[in-house]
Symmetry: C2
Subunit: 443 residues, 2 copies
């Protein structure tokens, strides 16, 4: 398809090109435009029918949007903005430089401008910052037939019409889906079929919690109310999915000891990448001083028996990995609301039993391997015993730290791999050389 578009563009067959473009989904069009240069892009974009153009615009990355806006006439900009939902406009504005923002705000009507400004004022990660104000409001006294004809009249510029909200003096008193309305009799009243136990969120709630609730309840939209219970907007499911994806990416970053970043890999510049990664690496490097100085303490031991040194990487690796296995599961469980702070002792008890099975298997396999390679029963025994101790410690620390972090209102994901590894590295060496010096009667 892409080749065909390029061909038509080269041959300047614009009528055919226009025809062809209309068959493409806006999300795919945005990707297609991304591969063109600025001039071609503007040319192709101008061939799109108004509504498709606006939909495509909403799917673009912000730098592409900015480039297009700079090429737009004022009239074109106004046309795009008229077709854009307020929440998408806010997303767009948040990424633009000041001069472009001013041009955008000048091109919107007063009402939209006020709405945009209002949403921009909510805290960065709040429900208010991702909500839209374009939803369908109904009165409780409408009949089903009247409600449907109201939806048909006002629905055009609403982001979703499928969930309608019933308000009285701006307070949210119920909700009704288009499905409920369509399946009801024409002369029933909205107040008789509406759901009155409406689950809502507050404008200041964390957007991640809102997205999680929507996923829990399978909601297509979630009403957002202010402190007085007045309906101020709704969050739609497509934005909720974006939030969940963004938060997952953040968790991945934290698990790999990086500061999270909102842009994609290639959009992020080299210095920013370096900055995001260097912080934790410095912490890890300096805290490794600890395990280093513990090792210094046992210099006599490994000068007497240098073979001891060759098991350090393995034992440290196993300790760190056991810890991160457990902490990853617990962090993910906390994120999915499957694990709670009160489960602390249940987790410890479970991990203890798991650690026993795992450590005994590992110790036996490893003991046999060392015995076969070095024919030294004492070393085999020392490594096997250290293994048991290190695995058990790793599992317990990995299970406890995320819960402790959560109960201290810290982000459990920060307690992941790097911190646990540092703690476990030092402990592993202490356990290993503690056992070794005891058995070998060294210093």
């Amino acid at each position: 398809m892409k080749e065909r578009i390029t061909q038509l563009l080269e041959d300047k067959k614009l009528a055919e090109l226009r025809e062809e473009l209309q068959k493409i989904n806006p999300a795919d069009l945005a990707i297609l435009l991304e591969d063109m240069d600025e001039k071609e892009r503007l040319l192709v974009y101008r061939l799109l029918p108004k509504e498709l153009a606006a939909d495509t615009f909403a799917f673009m990355e912000s730098d592409m949007q900015e480039g297009l806006i700079n090429g737009f006439t004022d009239r074109e900009l106004r046309e795009v903005l008229e077709q854009t939902f307020v929440d998408d406009a806010v997303d767009m504005i948040e990424e633009m430089p000041a001069n472009v923002i001013n041009r955008i705000l000048r091109s919107t009507d007063r009402e939209t401008r006020d709405a945009i400004n209002q949403i921009l004022n909510y805290p960065k990660d709040s429900a208010g910052s991702i909500m839209t104000i374009e939803y369908v409001k109904l009165s409780r006294y409408l009949t089903v037939a009247d409600a449907i004809s109201r939806i048909r009249r006002v629905g055009t510029d609403k982001e979703t019409i499928y969930t309608c909200y019933v308000t009285e003096y701006r307070k949210l008193i119920g909700m009704v889906t288009v499905k409920d309305l369509l399946l009801a009799e024409d002369d029933e009243l909205v107040e008789d079929i509406m759901e009155t136990n409406v689950i809502t969120v507050n404008t200041h709630d964390d957007k991640e919690d809102v997205a999680k609730q929507m996923s829990k309840y399978d909601f297509m939209a979630m009403p957002v109310v202010d402190d007085e219970g007045r309906l101020v907007g709704i969050v739609t499911f497509d934005d909720a999915i974006d939030v969940l994806e963004e938060e997952t990416t953040e968790d991945f970053s934290k698990l790999a000891a990086m500061s999270p970043n909102e842009d994609s890999y290639f959009k992020t510049s080299v210095p920013i990448h370096a900055k995001n990664r260097i912080g934790w690496l410095l912490v890890l490097m300096l805290s490794a001083t600890l395990s280093g100085s513990v090792l210094r303490h046992y210099e006599a031991a490994f000068q007497a028996i240098p073979l001891l040194v060759s098991f350090i990487p393995m034992l440290m690796g196993i300790g760190g990995n056991c810890g991160s296995q457990t902490s990853t599961l617990v962090i993910r469980g906390l994120a999915l609301d499957e694990i709670h702070i009160g489960d602390f002792f249940r987790i410890i008890w479970k991990e203890l039993r798991i650690a026993l099975i795992v450590s005994v298997v590992l110790a036996i396999v490893n003991g046999i391997r060392i015995q076969l390679t070095y024919h030294d029963m004492t070393i085999s025994l020392i490594v096997a015993l250290s293994m048991v101790g290190i695995v058990i410690l790793g599992k317990l620390v990995g299970g406890m730290l995320p819960i402790v972090a959560k109960s201290l209102k810290l982000d459990p994901a920060l307690m992941a791999t790097p911190l646990i590894t540092t703690i476990l590295d030092t402990c592993s060496i202490l356990i290993y050389f503690g056992i070794a010096t005891h058995f070998l009667a060294l210093t």
Copy 2:
């Protein structure tokens, strides 16, 4: 709320309890019932109105469903199943023991039974296995008014009515949303307002790809067709979100060197947990033999200068962490479709520049620290130089391996932390002692 329910239950105020229960959302009701014992649960469940009961049932974990089914009379079971969507029934059946499955299949009508059997026959992770067959079909020749009244007639037992599919001889020829219908004039024809460029998936497509496409296009439902282009079902957005969540959990498990598991942390038994974790640990343990034997090779070096040993944990830790930072970003980028196989050299070039910045900063800080502690310029220099080499190698290996895995059609997530750490551990030691023996003129 929970206290109030427990109180009413204790006081046997069943009418009031029934009243109270109806105010609760099905997802919350399922959680509430989870905390009760079997007898209470059945009692409370029987108080729920039919539809709420079925909705709540769909939100329960499979072991709770099984317990309830065992307590149901045949008539109760039939009632629940009548209200259950086919895709939810399939989810349920997949987790049940054979005798319960037989009872369920005996209690459904012939048509539903055929549909369930058909879906059960699709491969485990295919689009077919998560689709529902309950969607609204329209003919192209209907007027908008007729289409709306058809939806009102047949909509009750459809999972979604908001996207309707236009078929001709069972082939999918277009789709139209309820919003389109409501906003069109009554006498327009469906064929004139329908979208004819419909994006579809095949029954055998991977369910993860389907979910990703739905998230890309912001679809509420995705039509599933067979090899002949005939419409056989739809995947709804709530199931797509579940798939995305499940896959993310799997990726987290793989990143932490565990076999992924479908059940939640507490639902998984201790032996299963141990089994999932022990495989990779054994691999890591045995491959650490490699770094161990490299260390044996340099025994003379650290017997001469034991201080060298104390920097091993730090250098290995930094190498592994640098590698996993990069590999995590690349794996996530591949999962989100932001990075492709063709970006191989772009990633290497980017990581090389990042590694230069990061390694120089780390080397300087660390060199100064060692100089201040040990006043040994040679050692400081050796460790600093090793640091630069190890960080660069870590970033490059971390960036390359996931892409290589992807191009070999392996799961990139498997190339994560554990494998990279093992490779980097050995390389780090080689670089470190290579530089050290060179500078200190040791063997």
